[in-house]
């Protein structure tokens, strides 16, 4: 399973955590793990976005302001 660490995504119009997350989903991996700053993408938002991109959150944990989630293609 691949891990995508999006903590260092930029803040600009063409490089930011939201676009980085959509790019990850566009790769269509069967199962993947993402690491994001929870303030960038809270779990509830991640769930909705994942669903709209054809993924489900399989498991998740939050620590030190980070959200680590495993997602599977639905």
């Amino acid at each position: 399973m691949k891990t995508y660490d999006l903590r260092n995504a930029g803040e600009g119009c063409i490089d930011n955590p939201a676009l980085a997350l959509l790019d990850v989903f566009a790769k269509r991996d069967r199962e993947l793990q993402v690491i994001v700053k929870a303030e960038d993408i809270p779990l509830e938002v991640l769930r909705d976005v994942a669903r709209s991109c054809g993924y489900e959150v399989k498991s998740s944990r939050e620590e030190d302001g980070l959200l680590v989630a495993v997602l599977v293609r639905s």
Binding site: C13, N16, L21, V45, V49, R51
Partner: protein, 396 residues
């Protein structure tokens, strides 16, 4: 009553609330059909062909210049087709560069889109001149008085936006134009966000140049216009050299070039002919709709958005007085990253933009790390606005 949305296939084919019109607008069937018809019945290269089909294509492309020129109260020979407003503004800077000498001044504002900001720094660097960036008012609105105060005899160019893609503020360019001319400067106006929404007459505004993009006014991408006074176009030098923009080229140890008439002097190579035809069809649609009806419609909806945001405790940038602004509302949800807000709204089929909207200096000067922007156009209605506000309110 006729539903404007019915004219826009994508709004019937997709279940979306489209509020990203400052980025680009959707296309009505008449524009899509005009482009299709051009390729199906009239396609040929322009200006060079002797046969009837080529004459037809030429007439359509030249006719498109006439239509677009008339739409802004200008003349065809002063209306150069370019790829977009960005190219138009870069071309304007290039054409005007020889008017600037060492120590001269170019004036622009903190509110500009990067397209009307960076080209002036580039030209200033080339010519040893300086750029004075006039700060905005506290709410991000252009400060006309400060601009006028800054214009002096060393000022050669004033480059200012007519409407902001962030604050929605509509600049009083007429007053600025007068001050520029009183000091022997020329005024270049970024019309990317005004030409699609406000009836424009370049003569009444008293400006020297205006750049705008077709895709922000129902037309296709890849085509736009730079309108510029003929004497400036005559004195300037083309940025691109090539076919179609010269009448004669002689080489006999020395090069001798006779440029084509205006506006073709500035349109090197085979242009976006079908795009030009689509541009004219967009202008026709807007004229049928009535340019005078657009801003009031957008202001009504923008007012509802501003009230809705206020009820949610969400601050927005730009003036509170709706009469001073168009249908662009950029806001920051407290404690939420703008990208996250747009990402979430996207899952509810609400299309908005997040970030600096290519106006990073403005955001930085206002001390905000990007905004979410809802921007309106003729096909948006109250239902769109309510769906947007509801989705925003429901964000976890």
């Amino acid at each position: 009553m006729r539903n404007v949305k019915d004219d826009f296939p994508i709004l019937k084919n997709r279940d979306i609330v489209y509020l990203d019109n400052a980025a680009t607008t959707q296309k009505p069937k008449s524009v899509i059909e005009a482009i299709k018809e051009f390729y199906e019945y009239h396609n040929a290269n322009i200006h060079r062909g002797i046969y009837p089909l080529a004459r037809e294509a030429t007439e359509m492309y030249e006719g498109a210049h006439e239509r677009v020129a008339k739409f802004i109260g200008g003349k065809m020979e002063e209306t150069v087709f370019v790829r977009n407003a960005s190219e138009g503004l870069n071309l304007a800077a290039w054409i005007l560069k020889d008017r600037i000498g060492k120590g001269d001044k170019i004036i622009t504002t903190m509110s500009e889109h990067h397209s009307n900001f960076l080209p002036w720094f580039k030209i200033a660097r080339m010519r040893g001149a300086r750029v004075d960036v006039i700060p905005t008012k506290e709410d991000g609105s252009i400060d006309e008085e400060k601009i006028i105060e800054a214009i002096d005899s060393r000022t050669k160019i004033v480059a200012v936006q007519h409407a902001s893609n962030v604050t929605g503020y509509i600049t009083d360019v007429k007053e600025i134009a007068r001050a520029a001319h009183d000091n022997g400067a020329v005024i270049v106006v970024d019309g990317a966000q005004s030409v699609p929404h406000i009836p424009i007459d370049v003569k009444k505004l008293g400006i020297d140049a205006l750049a705008f993009s077709a895709h922000k006014m129902l037309g296709p991408t890849g085509i736009g216009a730079l309108w510029m006074k003929a004497d400036l176009l005559e004195e300037g030098e083309p940025f691109l050299e090539g076919g179609d923009m010269i009448k004669e080229v002689h080489y006999n140890s020395e090069l001798q070039v006779i440029y084509n008439d205006l506006p073709w002097k500035y349109e090197a190579g085979t242009p976006n002919i079908a795009g030009g035809v689509g541009f004219a069809a967009a202008v026709d649609y807007l004229e049928r709709y009535g340019m005078e009806n657009i801003l009031p419609h957008e202001q009504k909806l923008a007012k509802r958005i501003m009230n809705g945001l206020e009820e949610m405790g969400v601050p927005f940038v730009g003036p509170r007085d709706i009469k001073r602004r168009g249908g662009v509302v950029a806001f920051s949800v407290p404690g939420k990253n703008p990208y996250t807000v747009a990402l979430y709204l996207g899952t509810k089929n609400v299309c908005v933009r997040a970030g600096y909207h290519c106006a990073q200096p403005l955001h930085e000067s206002l001390g905000i790390k990007g905004t979410v922007r809802a921007s309106l156009y003729i096909y948006n209605d109250e239902e769109d606005v309510e769906k947007f506000l509801e989705a925003l309110e429901g964000m976890p």
